[in-house]
C-alpha cells in the first residue's frame, strides 16, 4: 500500500530544543491516529507536515511529495483543523467558510456552493448566517471542520477535534470522522491524547513519546487477528512466567503482578492452574480480554524493547 505520510529521519528543532527526533515510519491507513502524552510532539508533527516548521534534518513525504520542495502543492491537498480557536469572529459562518474556500483556489461561485454543502454536512446549516464569534464551543469546532473540508482535500489533519466537547457533540464529531473515512476519498490524520477517539475511528496509530516514535501499530491488523488474551493477576512470579513461556504461550508481564497471556488453541486454562499450583503461585484474578489500544499505548510509554515489537505486530 502506498504511504500517505512517510517520515524519513525527520528532525524538528524549535529554538535550541529538539521537538521531533529522527522520526521514521510509513503511515498508510485511511484514518491514522497520532497518540502521545502532552508535549510528545503530535501538534509539532502536524505543523511540520503543513510547512509551518521547517525540518532541521530528514524530511517527510505526503502522497510521495517532499514537504521541503512541494509544500505549496501539498497544501492544496490538505484540510487542516487546528486545536486552538481559529476563526474570524466578525464574519458570518457561511462567509468565513466561503472565504477559506476561495483562498484555497475555488472560484467564487463554487466556493459559495461548497460552503453551503460543508455547513449542512457538519450539521450547522441552520446557523450559517450567524457570526462565528457568537457560536458555542461545539459549533466552533464544527465550523473549523467545515473550513477544513470545504475545498475537498485528499488529506485531513485534525488536531484534537473533540477537545472541550460535551459527550453528545463529541459523538457527533466522531460520527462525522467515521462518515468521512467511510467515503474512502480522503485520508485522515487525527492527533489526540484520547485513546477512545483513536480506537473508535482509526485503523493505524503512531504513538509518540518525547518526540520519538514509541510505536507504530496497525489497529486493523490487530482487530483482524482477534486474538484473545488472558489477563491474570498473581501474588508473585516465582518462575511461573518462564513456565508459561515453556508451555508455548506468549506472555507479557506488567507492574503489580499483572500478566497478559495469549493462549494457543491447544492449551487449556486448566493447565495454567496446574502450573500455578506447581509454582505455589496464587492466581487472584483472571479475565478474558482483547488487547486494547490502552495496552499498546501503556506498553509504548514504558519505553521497553517490547514497544518496538508491537510496531512489528509480534505481540
Amino acid at each position: 500500500m502506498s504511504s500517505v505520510v512517510a517520515l524519513e529521519n525527520l528532525v524538528v528543532r524549535l529554538g535550541n530544543r529538539t521537538i521531533l527526533d529522527s522520526l521514521n515510519g510509513s503511515l498508510t491507513g485511511l484514518c491514522i491516529g497520532l497518540l502521545g502524552p502532552n508535549g510528545s510532539g503530535k501538534s509539532t508533527l502536524l505543523n511540520t507536515l503543513l510547512g509551518f516548521y521547517p525540518p532541521f534534518g530528514g524530511t517527510a513525504r505526503i502522497f510521495g511529495n517532499d514537504i521541503r520542495a512541494n509544500i505549496g502543492r501539498l497544501r492544496s491537498m490538505i484540510g487542516y483543523m487546528p486545536e486552538s480557536d481559529a476563526f474570524i469572529a466578525e464574519m458570518t459562518g457561511i462567509k468565513f467558510v466561503r472565504y477559506m474556500a476561495e483562498v484555497s483556489g475555488l472560484p467564487a461561485r463554487e466556493a459559495m456552493e461548497r460552503a453551503h454543502e460543508a455547513f449542512f454536512y457538519v450539521g450547522l446549516g441552520e446557523v450559517r448566517y450567524r457570526k462565528v464569534g457568537t457560536y458555542s464551543l461545539g459549533m466552533k469546532q464544527l465550523v473549523k471542520l467545515a473550513q477544513a473540508l470545504v475545498h475537498g482535500p485528499r488529506l485531513l489533519l485534525l488536531d484534537e477535534p473533540t477537545n472541550g466537547l460535551d459527550p453528545e457533540a463529541r459523538q457527533r464529531m466522531l460520527q462525522l470522522v467515521h462518515e468521512i473515512r467511510d467515503t474512502r476519498k480522503v485520508h485522515i490524520v487525527i492527533s489526540t491524547h484520547l485513546l477512545r477517539d483513536i480506537e473508535d475511528c482509526c485503523d493505524q496509530v503512531l504513538i509518540l513519546k518525547n518526540g520519538r516514535v514509541a510505536a507504530l501499530c496497525d489497529l486493523e491488523e490487530e482487530r483482524k487477528a482477534n486474538r484473545k488474551f488472558l489477563e491474570l493477576e498473581i501474588n508473585h512470579g516465582n518462575g511461573f512466567v518462564e513456565a508459561i513461556g515453556r508451555l508455548g504461550c506468549e506472555c507479557a508481564s506488567f507492574a503489580g503482578g499483572r500478566l497478559k497471556i495469549v493462549l494457543p488453541e491447544n492449551i487449556a486454562v486448566r493447565q495454567l492452574y496446574q502450573l500455578a499450583a506447581e509454582h505455589t503461585v496464587q492466581i487472584r484474578r483472571m479475565n478474558y480480554r482483547r488487547d486494547s489500544l490502552e495496552d499498546i499505548f501503556l506498553k509504548a510509554m514504558e519505553d521497553k524493547p517490547e514497544a518496538r515489537e508491537i510496531a512489528s505486530g509480534s505481540l
Binding site: L14, F52, A86, M91, G105
Partner: protein
C-alpha cells in the same frame, strides 16, 4: 439543500490561478471595511477636497463664471506645483486617518482568534498574504491621494492647453512618487504595529504616538544635543522634506518651514529604514505558529 449533496465530496472542479489568489484577501479585506457605513461616509468625504480642487481649476479657467462673480484670476499664477502640493497635503493626512481607522482592524481580526494559521495552511504563502492585505490598503489610499491628484493634473493640462501639460510633466512623477511613498510608509507601519501588538486600539494609539510623540522626542534631543538630526525621528518631517524637493517648491517654503536642517539623503535613508524595520517586524511576527525560544 439537496439530500444527495449532504455527503463528503472531493472537489475536482476548476481552480483560480495561483498567482492572483492574493486578490481574494484584498477583495474580502476591502469589502469588510465598507460594511461600516461610517467608513463609507468617511471615504466619500475624503474625495470632497478633490471635487473642490476640480471646481477651482474649472473656475480659474472659466471667464464666464469669473465675470458672473466679478473676479479676475490668472490660472498660471494660481494652479502650479505649490497648488498641487497644497492639495496633496490635505489628502495625505486624510489617508493617514483612514489608515489608522482601517488597517489595525483588518490585521487584528486575523490575529485575534488565530485565523492566520488557516490562511497559511492553504496554498498561500506569507508574502502573498501580506501582498493581499497591502494591496487592499494601497488601492484604498491611492483612490484618495495620487489618483485624484493625477486626475486634477489632467484636468488642468486639458483646460490650460498651450503645452502646460508637457511643461509640467515632472509634476506627474512628483504626485505619483510622493503619494505612493507616503502610502507605503503608513500602510507598512500600521500593519507592522498591528501585527506586533495584535490589539486594534493599541495599534491605532501607537500609530499616533509614532507620528506625533516621537517627533517631540526628536526635538527634545535636538535641544539637548544642539543638533538637527533628531528631526529624522519625525516621519512627517522627513516626508515633507522629500516632498518639497519632489515638487520643486521655492526656497521660501524650505527655509520658511525650517526644512533645511538635515540633508535630503538622510530623509530618504530615514524613510527606507522605517520601511525595512516594518518589513522585519512583519517577517518576525507574521507566522502561523510562534516559537518560544529556549
Amino acid at each position: 439543500m439537496a439530500v444527495y449533496k449532504r455527503s463528503y465530496k472531493v472537489y475536482d472542479g476548476p481552480l483560480t490561478p495561483t498567482g492572483s489568489r492574493f486578490l481574494v484577501l484584498s477583495r474580502y479585506s476591502a469589502a469588510s471595511l465598507f460594511e461600516s457605513r461610517y467608513f463609507t461616509v468617511f471615504t466619500v468625504l475624503c474625495l470632497v477636497p478633490a471635487l473642490i480642487g476640480a471646481a477651482t481649476i474649472y473656475f480659474v479657467h472659466s471667464a464666464t463664471t469669473q465675470l458672473l462673480l466679478g473676479m479676475r484670476l490668472s490660472s498660471t499664477d494660481l494652479i502650479n506645483n505649490v497648488w498641487f502640493w497644497g492639495f496633496l497635503q490635505s489628502q495625505v493626512w486624510l489617508a493617514f486617518v483612514m489608515t489608522v481607522w482601517a488597517v489595525p482592524g483588518m490585521m487584528t481580526r486575523d490575529l485575534a482568534n488565530h485565523a492566520l494559521q488557516l490562511y497559511l495552511s492553504r496554498p498561500l504563502s506569507r508574502p502573498e498574504y501580506l501582498l493581499g492585505k497591502v494591496s487592499a490598503v494601497v488601492l484604498l489610499l491611492s483612490a484618495i491621494t495620487w489618483i485624484p491628484g493625477l486626475l486634477l493634473f489632467g484636468l488642468q493640462a486639458q483646460l490650460e492647453g498651450h503645452g502646460w501639460g508637457s511643461e509640467h510633466l515632472w509634476l506627474i512623477g512628483a504626485i505619483f512618487i510622493g503619494c505612493l511613498l507616503w502610502v507605503t510608509v503608513i500602510a507598512l507601519m500600521a500593519m507592522a504595529l498591528s501585527v506586533w501588538v495584535k490589539w486594534r486600539i493599541a495599534a491605532s494609539g501607537l500609530m499616533f504616538a509614532v507620528f506625533f510623540v516621537l517627533p517631540g522626542l526628536g526635538e527634545a534631543a535636538n535641544a539637548i544635543l544642539h543638533t538637527q538630526w533628531g528631526r529624522l525621528l519625525s516621519v512627517p518631517y522627513v516626508m515633507t522634506l522629500i516632498w518639497t524637493h519632489l515638487f520643486r517648491l521655492p526656497d521660501r517654503f524650505i527655509h520658511g518651514f525650517n526644512y533645511a536642517g538635515v540633508p535630503l539623503w538622510s530623509a530618504w535613508a530615514s524613510v527606507l529604514s522605517v520601511c525595512l524595520i516594518c518589513i522585519m517586524l512583519l517577517n518576525q511576527r507574521l507566522r502561523a505558529r510562534e516559537v518560544e525560544r529556549g
